[in-house]
């Protein structure tokens, strides 16, 4: 009987798949142990990725939502020297708002001052905000520990002057023994060179939000600031909030282009320098670096955990190949090509890896979703949460499951497991049928 020796290899594939699948269940206990080790490793990696993503998101959320926002605009001289006169014209705010109706904007002003209370005094950093706009851009005014976050006029002094409410940072309140209702005097050098001073009422004390602000920050309204500092022609900082963070880069570029057009039509003073548009990563490089580092850590941890689990695969396949050398010899003798034999052994490893990936992904995802919903509660040991990279975290660590993390972790596990299968597969290929069948 003559046969076509060039018949398609595709006819052989189903049988090779079939034999490989059956082979992995020849020793079900050993295969299940291998699957357990690989799946367990995958579960660990998925959980770690979910918790890290949860922390990262909380970190980004705190970094952007509490005070910084997604994008900030300054003059270069303000960035370099905190130059009080390096302001952005108020007229530009309207122009930008009209151009980008989907964005939210919060102008801010800053000044250094000396703060005095009943029997204490300390250096202070004034941050003036428009409460209505600020509430749309950050959650700063929502982190109140005591009192109400009011920045309006508290009352009128005996001289008929308005006395404004201010909000103070947590540590400053502690250091200066301030509480809601306390009186506070601020003295500063105004924009016109005169000494500006005024009496304020502490409306509220904030929770810790940012180390610098906590230590010396005082929030007041822009109106109160202008009366103290005589600086009315512009603002120092414009914080911008995006609805969709994924569009950060194009929005930043669009804002930059718009400001370039405005500068062409309305040139600014040279001393203040150009207008600079920076996103939160550029504003907080340490946080951005840490996020990048966390991705690398995830990869390293993933390799270690999955690599260790894959040693189980290596052991299983080495044992399986060792036990079946005679059988492989027979297959080679009856005409199976070495390449097909190698393919079959690699397929067995692939099936083990796929079963592990499937079970590990399902279990890991379910656990990650549980932690996304309920989190890990550390409030007993850390009631005020924990501080990492200068950012205060909630005491409940919540996970966040990204489907692509499950996919990447599974692919990593399958990849490492397949690498681990190469040694046993290679041993199979080197078998000499006449020797192994003796």
């Amino acid at each position: 009987m003559q046969h076509d020796m060039n018949t398609s290899s595709l006819n052989r594939l189903p049988m090779l798949f079939y034999i490989a699948w059956r082979n992995i269940w020849r020793n079900p206990v050993r295969s299940l142990l291998t699957v357990s080790a690989l799946a367990g490793g995958l579960v660990m990696v998925i959980l770690y990725a979910a918790l890290l993503e949860g922390m990262t998101r909380q970190m980004v959320q705190y970094a952007t939502e509490v005070t910084t926002a997604h994008i900030q605009i300054h003059r270069q001289a303000f960035i370099d020297d905190r130059d009080m006169y390096a302001t952005i014209p108020w007229a530009w705010l309207d122009e930008i708002e009209q151009e980008f109706p989907q964005l939210r904007f919060a102008p801010r002003l800053y000044a250094a001052a000396l703060a005095s209370a009943a029997d204490t005094s300390a250096g202070a950093m004034i941050r003036a905000v428009d409460p209505q706009r600020e509430l749309q851009v950050t959650t700063m005014l929502g982190h109140v520990r005591q009192g109400k976050p009011a920045l309006d006029v508290a009352d009128v002094t005996d001289y008929g002057l308005p006395r404004y409410n201010v909000v103070v940072g947590a540590q400053m309140a502690r250091n200066m023994k301030l509480a809601p209702g306390s009186e506070l005097v601020l003295v500063s050098q105004a924009a016109d060179g005169s000494i500006g001073n005024a009496l304020y009422r502490v409306a509220s004390v904030l929770k810790p939000i940012e180390p610098n602000f906590d230590r010396m920050g005082i929030l007041m309204s822009i109106e109160a600031y202008q009366q103290l500092m005589y600086l009315e022609n512009g603002y120092h900082e414009l914080a911008i909030r995006l609805d969709d963070m994924t569009r950060l880069d194009p929005v930043q570029q669009a804002v930059r282009e718009k400001l370039g057009q405005l500068q062409q039509h309305q040139p600014l003073d040279e001393l203040g320098g150009p207008v600079v548009v920076r996103n939160w990563r550029e504003l907080m490089p340490a946080v951005a670096d840490m996020l990048e580092l966390s991705k690398s850590m995830l990869l390293i941890i993933g390799f270690i955990v999955v690599g260790l689990a894959s040693l189980g695969m290596l052991n299983t396949m080495l044992m399986a190949v060792h036990e079946r050398t005679h059988e492989f010899g027979i297959l080679l003798a009856i005409g199976m090509k070495r390449g097909w034999l190698l393919f079959m052994v690699v397929l067995e490893s692939l099936f083990l890896a796929l079963v592990s990936a499937l079970s590990g992904s399902v279990i890991g995802s379910l656990l990650a979703l549980y932690f996304e919903e309920h989190g890990i509660d550390f409030s007993e040991s850390m009631p005020d949460g924990y501080d990492w990279a200068g950012i205060v975290f909630e005491p409940v660590m919540k996970g966040y499951l990204l489907p692509q993390d499950v996919l990447y972790a599974s692919l990593l596990m399958i990849g490492v497991a397949m690498i681990a299968s190469l040694l046993p597969a290679w041993r199979t290929v080197r078998l000499k049928p006449a020797e192994v069948m003796r």
Partner: protein, 232 residues
Amino acid sequence: MALLTLEGIGKRYRQGEIEVQALQGVDLQVAEGDFAALVGPSGSGKTTLLNIIGGLDAPTQGSVRLNGIELTAMGEAELSDFRLFQLGFIFQAYNLVPVLSALENVELVMVLQGQHRHERRERAEHYLELVGLKAVMHRRPSALSGGQQQRVAVARALAAGPRLVLADEPTANLDSENAFALLDIMHRLSHEEKTTFIFSTHDTRVMERAERIITLRDGRLASDERHERHSA
């Protein structure tokens, strides 16, 4: 023309510090349709000669030609194809793939040949019927007796349509009843299918059934005799 021609076959290999001359100057011709037993005491070189004929081992001297094609000049891949399309193998034990049923085991060589499903299924069932195992063809080897497993191996060897079937001690692990049954099946199929059989053995039961007895002693061809086959 002879189907198989061996000329001056020699095989030498090292076993630790000792050099073993397994075969020396073996000349042999096997005609199409021969039902030949390769006999001799242990260590006489029977298995080595079968391995050389089957392309599983290379001689250190001499030439092997099957149907005029020189085996010693073939590369690894060519030898694989040669075994796949021209030869059938029956071994002493552990012949079958344990995770496949009897039917799938018989189909296996045809799968490797690339035959289409319908054709190979038909042939596999036909040969299992010829060896009397159609009723148990869906059983795995572990659910078959030793004799049944060897009959499946015979069906596998023949279903792929080889020119030559090589059997290395095929009855070594069988009781007399099963051994005779297996030999009768092999002999009948050899005649029906015009397939050449060479089997190594030191089992006198096998020798009684052989039409030709080739005797090896100390790696040399000691005798080559033709016999009338005795019926069981």
